[in-house]
Subunit: 114 residues, 2 copies
């Protein structure tokens, strides 16, 4: 398990009573992975697809070159937000269910404020 994957497992909700330095850092890392328009679009494409998406089908909707798409996929992989499956010459990506649930929990401040 990569350090970043552990980070997703460890990050704490923004409304948690006591946030340690490590939890704050892990939570910031998770948001950082999504702090880019191309990565927001990738997550959107994966979220609205019913099945794993070939990296070869990401270049056109994103309007980016293959190396640039691969760079963004590595960031999302490192953050533990997506998973990768090799099928022949192509990599297929899908959202990781536990990371998606963690992201929603982390960002949910309702009830704790305002």
């Amino acid at each position: 398990m990569s350090a970043a994957l552990e980070a997703v497992a460890c990050c704490a909700p923004l409304a948690a009573a006591a946030l340690s330095d490590d939890e704050a850092a892990a939570t910031a890392e998770l948001f950082k992975a999504l702090a880019d328009p191309a990565r927001v679009r990738v997550v959107n494409l994966l979220a609205t697809s019913g099945e794993p998406v070939c990296v070869c089908n990401l270049t056109e909707p994103l309007g980016l070159s293959q190396p640039t798409v691969s760079h963004h996929m590595k960031k999302l992989l490192d953050a533990g937000l997506v998973e990768r499956e090799q099928r022949g010459k192509w990599a297929y990506f899908s959202l990781k269910r536990d990371a998606v649930e963690k992201l929603a929990a982390v960002a949910d401040l309702k009830g704790a404020c305002c």
Copy 2:
């Protein structure tokens, strides 16, 4: 209303069916505002406080200088996540309810994937 404040109003959920370039950029900006451990801690402190927090009470728990705290508060203000109220010589900050709801909605991918 600042451009960034509008960005919060315009950003779209990650699971929205069609994400425009502008929506992707606004959503990324919102995550970017939270892609820093100090700002995660500020939002955590504001979320767990029942009332507006004086900027003079943020320096100690964050372990940061006043100018650095002010820098982070400006980023959060520009993103429309917090609001600022002047009381005498001090600024008091609280989370903005609509931004908090927007953040939770944006980050919620459940039901749309996996």
